[in-house]
């Protein structure tokens, strides 16, 4: 689907709480703090906000966030499904809303105490087995002891390794690059804590073939963004960061974390669908990206994302990574904030914020001469992606 508003909207503000393992406050407080910061960064006042876009898995309703912020009237509010898959989907939704006039200033937010309160990594437990759609779906994996996202993703990883000869070390190089970038980012949880490939290999198994250091951390924190039209953005203090395109994707026989029944399970066709939309909307291609934020909840699924966007041929991501292309100074510096492995796991929203900083030129690991940055949403679920660009 081509986006008629490609290049017509912009991110004008970003705001976040600190990223920690124990925020010590409510998720509502985190949501309000990060939203307030994004509104302030945009040079706006809460009463100017008239749209809010969130995640369906977000526990804080927009009305509660709005009430504490002093937002008065909302003319658009919507939620996007599929956890981290929504990361750029929220951006897409906000862009549509402001472009169509459903609202003028759309606030996008995600806040949780994913480490101190509800850990996804602890596994699906203690739910009753009433036949709701989600429990019926879980019924195909929970009785077999596959209770965690790591266990579902590992199934894709084993097949990918088998088919293309990728190794655990190839996955490890993602982790090492992320942590190297986090080491110089004071906001990152793993600030000044780089790791080596040996550290990765020595880390304990979570679900083989995933080591601990293939799995992103679990974090407490909040991240917000402010979206408006490019026209309004030009009147605001920050240099606008143009949403060149944003897209969602759900592909044939899509299932939640377990799209195991397709002819081939080594690719991510829903991300390929996003890629086609982004390239079509913008006329850009892989060579036009100076940096990328690639969703990295688990390292193995970074590889097929690089392939779906055409940064390398199918099955060759391991070589692309090995050549140092994802490092600062490489062909495609990736996750310059440290990614979710190094900075924080905020369902990809902190990555969108880093893409904004890269375009603004304010990343702590700034890549020179950035015109366009690719950012992707969560994988193994219906997903999303966006290209953020410097205003022409």
């Amino acid at each position: 689907m081509s986006m008629s508003f490609a290049g017509q909207t912009a991110v004008v503000g970003i705001g976040a709480t600190e990223f920690s393992k124990n925020s010590g406050r409510s998720t509502l407080r985190l949501a309000v703090e990060c939203c307030e910061a994004a509104i302030a960064d945009a040079g706006l006042l809460p009463e100017q906000i008239d749209g809010m876009v969130g995640f369906t898995v977000e526990e804080n309703h927009e009305i509660d966030v709005a009430r504490s912020l002093g937002i008065k009237e909302l003319t658009h509010f919507s939620r996007i499904h599929h956890s981290g898959g929504a990361a750029c989907g929220t951006l897409h939704q906000a862009a549509m809303a402001v472009h169509t006039g459903a609202c003028k200033y759309a606030l996008v937010y995600r806040a949780f105490n994913e480490r101190s309160e509800t850990r996804f990594g602890a596994g699906v437990q203690g739910l009753d087995n009433a036949p709701t759609p989600i429990m019926v779906d879980f019924g195909w994996c929970l009785p077999f002891g596959l209770l965690t996202p790591a266990s579902w993703v590992a199934m894709f990883a084993t097949r990918y390794m088998h088919q293309y000869g990728a190794t655990s070390e190839d996955f490890g190089r993602i982790s090492v690059a992320d942590r190297r970038h986090a080491a110089t980012n004071p906001e990152a949880f793993f600030y000044q804590q780089a790791i080596t490939l040996e550290d990765h290999q020595a880390s304990r198994w979570i679900v083989k073939p995933l080591h601990l250091l293939d799995c992103c951390q679990e974090s407490d924190g909040g991240q917000a963004l402010l979206v408006t039209t490019l026209e309004r953005a030009r009147d605001l203090p920050n240099e606008p960061v143009v949403i060149a395109s944003a897209a969602q994707g759900s592909a044939d026989d899509q299932q939640m974390m377990k799209s195991y029944y397709r002819d081939d399970i080594t690719g991510i066709p829903e991300m390929g669908l996003c890629a086609r939309q982004l390239w079509n909307d913008t006329g850009l291609g892989p060579d036009d990206m100076q940096a990328a934020i690639i969703y990295d909840h688990f390292t193995p699924l970074v590889l097929p994302q690089l392939e779906e966007f055409g940064f390398c041929a199918v099955g060759e991501a391991k070589d692309f990574i090995k050549d140092g292309n994802l490092e600062l100074g490489g062909r495609l510096p990736m996750n310059t904030n440290g990614g979710q492995l190094g900075e924080a796991y905020i369902h990809g929203m902190n990555g969108v914020a880093e893409a904004v900083r890269l375009v603004r030129g304010t990343s702590v690991n700034q890549v020179p001469d950035v015109s366009n940055v690719l950012v992707t949403g969560g994988t193994a679920v219906p997903t999303s992606a966006a290209i953020l660009s410097r205003a022409g």
Partner: protein
Amino acid sequence: MSDDNKSKTPDALLAALRRIVGVATEPRVTRDDVNQAMIRHWCDAMEDHNPVYTDPAFAAESVHGGIVAPPAMLDTWSMPGLAPRPRQESSSGEEAGMVPVLNQLDAAGFTSVVAAGMSHEYHRYLKPGDRLTISQVITSVSDEKQTALGVGHFFTTESNFADQQGNSVGRMEFSILKFKPGTGTVNMDASALEGLEKMPRPRPAISRDTKFFWDGVDQGELRIQKCNSCDGLHHPPVVRCPGCGSYELGYLVSQGRGTVYSFVEVHHPQFPMFDYPLVGVLVELEEGTRIISNLVGVKPEDVETGMPVELAIEATDPGLSLPLFRRARPARRESTLLFADLEPGQELPPCPVAISRTLIVAGAMASRDFQDVHHDPDLAKKRGSPDTFMNIMTTSGLTNRYVTDWAGPEVIFRKLSLRLGVPNFPGDTLTYTGQVQSTALRDGKGVVELLVTGTNKLGDHVTATVELELPTP
């Protein structure tokens, strides 16, 4: 002679037992001639499909020239059946053989029995109509020993089998432990058995649209949704065929054969309701769909993508059955290996055996072994075992089958000796592996020695050495 044994001191008991050592029983003709019915029953129980045992046409063309009995049946022919123990004595009327030893030990409170090992030598294959005569001698009785199972005595017997012409057809050494129940050093009550008492697994949530699948599992079937209009398969189920639009959705019953498409090994976090190591597997079924399951009875390091697997619907928890998979049983070789095909170090393909309650009972009956521990769970518990367990003759039958399925129908067994370790309880999977130890030409015959091991989740159940004769063209 049979004074009150309970009043005997341990020394007196041992002295009485040792008086029996070395006294051979008067040769006794077995209850039944070698016969096709018992052979067939045995082959059914062991799932041994070697046609030399049951297919007259094949057998006639074979090296045997006619139907033969599985070699591992040797001592089955001499079992008394469900009848009181016969008297055993020497030709001069002295106590002799196993029966008086068993009687004396029973009377002294050593009422539980477990086989420790056995060794068969085969001088020729037996054919229906053969009438065997057996003579038995106790070769040793141990001092009283504290074993894991209990305080008891080991004793060994040697049995010689002759045919109607008086020619020796085979020889057996057998080693048994008789022990006092409840005196063991390991706690063999039910909770010692992994998997019997634990928190239940998460149960599948079942909707109207998925009920057929779980009903099928309860009935021992793996059902895959199939469109009645276009035959398209859909798993997990849909409500409308996306291929042709039909709402008329039925199912097929999968044959349960497939290959490992992908797999994972869960390490962390671990949950009390699962056994670890835990292998999650994505099986590609022959019918064309895939299914998430667990691979059981396989060590995680032995799992490979592409490995053939077969369905094993198992009751994992009270009231919950799941479609699990185990390594597929390798196909039976139809033409026999040649001596020249083999060299030391060569591996036999791993082969799983599902230890069902039926197999345990059927194997015991097929070998005419009516010891209650092999068919009655309540009495097995009274005798200090958490459940019924497989008898040694079934283990030898399965070992026989494993080796012939690999080597081919006309391989000749010369020796089969096995030592038992942990028991085979119902619900477990016994996995055989084996290796060629040596090959040698002796008197123009190709003699091959194998080491075969059968392991279950408790450890090594059987370690066997097998001497085979293979064709040398």
